[in-house]
Subunit: 355 residues, 5 copies
């Protein structure tokens, strides 16, 4: 997240609408994949040239153009002119540090959000920006091109004609893309839940400095996750409440469903945040408890040996005239006195509940 | 709660509306119970087949179909087709990790919320998801099937015709179900109140690490309880403000009543949360107070014995030329000096209010 | 407050509208007091039977029925049927664990709120629920029956015809009751202010563990007070904004006045809460400051005596060949060295600002 | 503030609208000052009798009646009857513990707010309640009568006819009074800013317990200041949005200006609050840092001398058979060993970064 | 920020609309720069006299008057009379302690906001107030005159006719100014991000008191940054929602774009605030962890040497009758006993996990 902000400065001073790719290049080459379908038939072109979508532009079938990798600015410019996209929208697509939002541009609707994944190597959340543009008969989805293809099951559903997807329009396809992305947030939350559970056990059994750092790391990731998830609610709500003709009433009930999911995700994030804060408190108080335990032992031992050492010091003095020195039983008697002092002190500490 | 989120991942990638039971199987077999009544008569069928409700579908009497156990997906599909329920609603019913909400589907209203109970064995809150669907002349209630039947008193009231329930429609029955569930929240709050009261006494009399853990456990359960209770207000408010014809004006005043209950519950939860936070503060400051007490005793003892031990050390030195060594009264004099030093220090500490 | 919630469980499972008295019985017998007045005349009946109000029901004079003690359920049922009160309203009246609210029931308005008092014996706030029902020509006030009669000055004002009360309708009487109750909140706040002031002085002069407990106790009572006072604003606001014909425009300006009072009370409560939190901080930092002071003295004394005791130990060794032992001036020289060490250390600590 | 609340209790039980002066008597006698002006001429009467304003009541010139000292209740009653003020308004004027607010009473508008000043002797904020009533052709301002006259520059402006004030109506005069009072808040904020800056320097250079108390005192005053300033925004906003004919459109742009000022003041207060909290954190962590520094020195010294003293103790033992005792070089060797031990420990602590 | 508030007091008591320059004088002389352009041609005058803009006042071309340095009050008065600006607006322009806001004055729109920059010398944020006034055919921008000219790239774009700027009206120019200023906020955020990242590394590797002070300094600057950035959202939102004819519909989509930027900036600020708080927690707990580590070492060493020193003291006593003294093996035996005691203690501490 810290790195993300940095990239923007490359654009300072340029006129608005300037197309500069802000973000890491994730694939060698931008990949275009075209899938055109109606209730009866499906046409698919992988590694297509963008121009191959033009014949479908004026038919009634739904055309799904999926682009991975945003570094090819010429490609995007051609896309913009083919579908009449506003320069600011193209700028937003290229700027991969966008806050999730949806814009109703009359002839098409633009949605941008974060697709989250869990990097199994670093145990960190990785995020990829996904832009979705949909109009009367097309859906364009643009990904940064991180590895792994979340949309493959969806594509398979279109190919096999399973479910209602082939019968419904581009708004339903856009919804399905959103649904796929948002469902993935639950996977992230599960990973969090697992890690929180593990940490809770660690907290009870053996809290270490490592535990503390884990809690802090989770808290930080939670801040990041929250930043991506909070605007989701607005985005979906704006779509559901939208009066655009591009969203059919039948689709709205599905949008309402992912709205509930978004609220659920935000709720869970807030709950985890509270749990992490609570765990931090437990950690701190259990560390200070342990410290106190150690300190008490010192207190007891020091407090017992101090007067005894003093007494030993007394009879180590070299005064000529110390009558006790010469008595026969004074040495064993002193031992008795010392044991008595130690015993009384222990009893006193026990009674005070300090042991 | 942590476990709850996990289950969702089983569904990732499936098309929306796919019926998968997300949740634990709690009863061996789904149980269907049909109760059909009007002002004059009652017909009840326990362990019924779902099809037995079909004759009642088009009569004017109120039909209450109560289903326990959600694992029988075929049963739910038949239910869906009999009463024309939307696939997303069926999906929500099966997904027992739902956030409480209500959906107005024109021809029926769908309500989902959590029924809470207190497990006397583990002293923990157990929750069960209850879905309520009601239309023109029917109410369907679906429970996960945890043991214990909260709705029996209601059934008894219908059988005996006590109260106004037999005279009123399905909206009143749905309200009665909500009322029963929400009233149970007060029982949970009472248990909390008892445990908080016990902890408060413990805090004053004898705070231990166990007390701390109890406070933390209560805080955690409170987070969970709050997550279930907060949306209740919205749910009931949406019903009360609803313009659906399914909710008669006469029922709205009753809904207003449980709205007040929901607000009351949320208020109490917030109050308990504040009290628990306050108790945590008391615990921490009383623990640190005790620690300080112990430390002070060490301080006093160490500070008194240090100079005395030093003096004893001085006269333990073996210098040939130490005039005091040979004097007759130097030993008892040293004792006097030592007692004086100890006395002055004690007086000083007393005056400084350190003792 | 903790006890309050408990009582509700007695009602779980009963149909809504069941009349069960939830709360402690505070008077031996329910007392009814009827006061009927118009601009010209006043008729008063103390220890009246409820039926004595019936003749006044259809006159234009204002009838004030004041009932103390809610345990007589038959009485309330008769009251309900005489004035046509909804069963849920009667239930709310009996349930003394109600959140303050107002309900507009078309032919009458129902208000419920907490009357607070300060128990001089336990120094705790005691609360009593007051319900006010007013219609076209009557006001019914129902109290739990705690000792002390806040409404007597009001009754006296009616009897003597002082002020504008005799000329105005039941809405003004209801307002006067509200005003009397809300004015009493200021008395409670004054008591708080006094105790906070005393605690502040104690904090500066001599903070003890008792001070801490006092702060915590005040914080707890503040939580309780806040729970009673926050809804007041809504209640009065709802009355002021109400479009009911029962509230005359002339009365609204008075309602606006107690609305300001309610806001003022809430403001003060929030201010006191902040002050108590701030005081807690001062307490904790002053306690830790004192502890640090004590610890520093130990540090200084220990750090000074340690090397001295070590030196004394050195010359207490019995080595045959220690040339210093035999020298004539080594003993006084050692004393000088020791004093020098102590002096240098003191100077060093002084310079470091540790003393 | 704590004292303020107390005074209200004098009024408990009185009918609403009873005129009792709640507040300290600040001047020996209430002073009335009348200033009547129109574009062409100014008439001024200081130490006037109230009745002298009557001739101006029905002219078109603007009459400004300024009253200092509220203890003369008869005067206020005459004022009320002359200008037709509602008894509740008179009550609010006398009750100097009012929350800032504005009331639109159709024929006049009532504004009450706090005028703040900085007592140079006690370094504390002193507040005085100012009520402003303005109608078609008059403005009445009522102050408690604290020393110092903020309104003199305004009066001078009227006398000399400087600015647009003589050309505009009573609403502009009322605005000018508000502007004068609110501008004074900036002076208070400057004083705060200065004290915060001084404290920040103290924090860095030499934090003492006094610094802590200063921070707490500032925090407390900030709570008080905030209580006075927060409602200002509502007050000015209500005036700006008011549909009363008493406020001309031309005046609204000026009201918008002081609305911006009020928001600015509130912003600054919140910023200072955050800065004070932040400073408290710095103080606490710097105090604990210093404490840790002191503790570390003890740790190092104690940890170094403990084994040395032990060794000295060993060779102070009187065993008959200790071969080392007799050796020629054992004494200087022991010194070497001791120096080595101390050196190794110092090196170890250095390496561990504890020194 | 603290200094900013101070300057206002110079104005207390002056009538509203008095023109006094509140702020530091940053340039020797106010500089006026006039740029007049339409689609076909550009006319530019640097170091112009204000009067040179008059010929352009009634043409249709867009006139951009850029003024640096606000100390020349006569210049501003002439500007005010030339373009008919309200005195309060001129006052706001001169008062460089303005909260960001926008005012719609019918014939022109006034916007004031903070232009932030990063002083590389002091590593602190410096802010400069920018006022923008735009009407039918002109834009006036007023800067305090800090070094560096953010608007030069914009000017260059106008001169070369690049982009759409020459074709669009003054609203688009005003938007471009806003866009330039707001884009600069991202640069500030990047600097913050860098410093936070550096601090995070420091926190892990080697936290010092300096780190703490850095965190606090960043927190303080964040408070300041937030105060400047929060109102931006309102400002841009007010412009976007404005019904003024001065803002063409085509420009609104650009305003929506910077609205998104403003929200993004605020989001980032909140995220950084949370991260800084979290870092403070890590710092504090890592410092206390280190302290505990040091304390534990003392505990272990002290606890081990105390009984050993005591034993040495015992056999240093001079009693005549101590049989052990004379035994042959008692000295080596004592060493063994001592080693055993030390070993047992170490083992015990190890087992308790204290080492």
């Amino acid at each position: 997240m810290v790195e993300k902000v940095k990239k923007r400065s490359a654009k300072a001073g340029l006129p608005p609408g300037s197309l500069v790719h802000v973000g890491a290049k994730m694939v060698a080459e931008s990949r275009v994949r075209i899938l055109d379908y109606d209730e009866g038939s499906v046409r698919e072109k992988t590694k297509a040239a963008l121009e191959e979508c033009i014949p479908f532009r004026d038919t009634d079938s739904v055309t799904w153009i999926d682009i991975e990798g945003l570094q090819n600015i010429a490609l995007l410019e051609r896309l913009g002119s083919t579908y009449g996209l506003h320069p600011l929208i193209l700028e937003d697509i290229l700027n991969t540090d966008q806050r999730p939002k949806s814009d109703d541009m009359d002839s098409y609707i633009y949605i941008v959000l974060k697709m989250l994944d869990f990097d199994p190597a670093t145990l960190e959340i990785v995020s990829e920006q996904v832009s979705i543009v949909f109009g009367r008969n097309y859906v364009i989805s643009l990904q940064e091109g991180r590895e792994g293809d979340l949309f493959e099951p969806l594509r398979e559903r279109i190919r096999t004609g399973k479910g209602r997807i082939r019968k419904l329009g581009p708004d339903y396809l856009a919804y399905s893309l959103l649904d796929t992305i948002i469902d993935h947030y639950f996977l992230i939350l599960e990973k969090f839940a697992e890690r929180i559970e593990m940490l809770e056990e660690e907290l009870v059994s053996n809290p270490t400095t490592e535990t503390l750092q884990q809690i802090h790391r989770l808290k930080r990731e939670m801040i990041f996750l929250r930043k991506s998830a909070w605007p989701l609610r607005e985005v979906v709500n704006a779509l559901e409440k939208s009066e655009s003709e591009l969203i059919r009433p039948a689709t709205k009930i599905f949008l309402r469903d992912i709205y509930d999911h978004a609220v659920h995700i935000i709720d869970s994030i807030e709950t985890y945040r509270e749990m992490l804060s609570s765990m931090l408190d437990i950690y701190l108080s259990s560390v200070s408890n342990r410290m106190n335990q150690v300190m008490k032992v010192l207190t007891i031992i020091a407090t017992i040996f101090m007067p005894l050492t003093f007494l030993a010091g007394i009879y180590g003095m070299n005064f000529k005239h110390m009558p006790e020195i010469g008595w026969l039983w004074s040495y064993p008697l002193l031992w008795l006195v010392m044991l008595a002092i130690a015993g009384i002190m222990l009893f006193f500490f026990k009674k005070k509940n300090w042991l």
